[in-house]
Symmetry: C2
Subunit: 217 residues, 2 copies
DNA sequence: ACTAAGCGGATATTGTCAATCCGTTTCTTG
DNA sequence: CAAGAAACGGATTGACAATATCCGCTTAGT
């Protein structure tokens, strides 16, 4: 194991580096990107000083982990393109990439809340956008989605869906699937029958809870 | 003009109180709820001290203005119910309430970002939820929307759409209408033809800009 | 067994806001 | 129009949160 400068690390140092990354992965996924490097250190069972000797700052930790998430999303898009049925491909990309973002608040935030990501987001776009473009183009050629659908619509759908996901996470984690289905019914070229919704709507009380359970700030 | 305790205010004090409210209205609408009471004071052309003499804290200013926004949304819902065509009513409620939220980031945040609102949100729910319920019930009875649509779906649609609105505001303010239309096409009971989309999709570059133009933090 | 590398965590630093205080100015009314 | 009450402005204080550093102690490795 080597550090950023390439020199090899002492055994305990290497172990701690891994522990820190594991803790960061877990905390980012669970609580989002604004956990403190101190939090991460303690969760990893090491002191803050150690964290700061391994990583110059939080950014560096995020960078180290972001690549992972990005690869996962790209992989999902690739698999989706491998499906010869363009509609299934599109649906599966949306479902699975939303699942990834769902399981990982940190990834979700990097993807959606720029300011934190900027060049990271650029990365994501240049790697993933072309795949989405193909996914959409195929589906359009085959006449499966409405002709006026654009590749960028997929991105904004994800923006909207993650907002819903964030809101309902605590009450009914799967709720976003319901709205994904509605979206899909909205972009199909023709829709003789409605697609059954995978998740029941929240009750009025549950909705109220979801809207009242604040997080941020 | 009287202050909170009912005693009458000196003329300049009354004037400043109005100025402060106007400035708050404007800044909340423009920049959201986390503007500082100092910001508001300066924008109103008065000192911070003055602001704090008129209002105990920011909460109080928000309260004074929230009622306004809430009334507007309720009015829109009422008008929507007055339309005998249940579909038009539903569409018009969504369009117009989104317009209100669009024009007013502060309202948007109160409606969507609890933590700040809590009991205010409760207020909103108890006043507006029943109206939405009727709107949806009518449309279902008339067989205009899919049978599995629920009143709470309207709320979550608004959550998703405001996220999109927030993201695209700087690049193409009207973009959310595009996704509203897709949503509407998704909830119609049957949809022989697709509804033309009111706003062109963003280009890839515009999308990138929108995703990269951070605000928060 | 010696030393460079690593460790922990108290502490300094920085930034952001809310809120107060007080010397000065402006109303009001007798 | 004089005088005191009311209001004003804005520098300043205080609270807090998060980042990052420093340094005396511990440990790996030869």
């Amino acid at each position: 194991m080597t550090d950023d400068t390439g020199r090899s690390l002492r055994k305990d140092a290497a172990r701690n580096r891994e522990r820190l990354l594991a803790a960061a992965r877990e905390l980012f996924a669970q609580r989002g990107l604004d956990v403190t490097l101190n939090d991460i250190a303690h969760h990893a069972g090491v002191g803050v000083g150690t964290a700061y000797r391994r990583f110059a700052n939080k950014e560096e930790v995020i960078d180290a982990l972001f690549e992972e998430g990005l690869r996962q999303v790209a992989a999902v898009a690739d698999e989706a393109l491998a499906d010869t049925d363009a509609w299934n491909g599109l649906v599966s990309y949306l479902e699975r990439s939303m699942e990834l973002q769902f399981g990982d608040r940190g990834l979700n935030e990097i993807m959606n809340n720029p300011a934190l990501g900027d060049e990271r987001v650029s990365d994501a776009r240049t790697r993933i956008a072309p795949l989405i473009e193909k996914l959409v183009a195929r589906a359009k050629e085959q006449g499966l989605v409405r002709a006026d659908l654009d590749q960028t619509d997929i991105v904004f759908a994800q923006v909207g869906l993650s907002a819903i996901m964030d809101r309902s996470r605590a009450v009914e984690p799967d709720l976003y699937r319901r709205y994904l289905t509605l979206f899909l019914d909205g972009i199909r070229a023709d829709r003789p029958e409605v697609t059954p919704l995978p998740t029941p709507a929240l009750t009025a009380e549950q909705t109220h809870t979801a809207m009242t359970a604040g997080r941020r700030r």
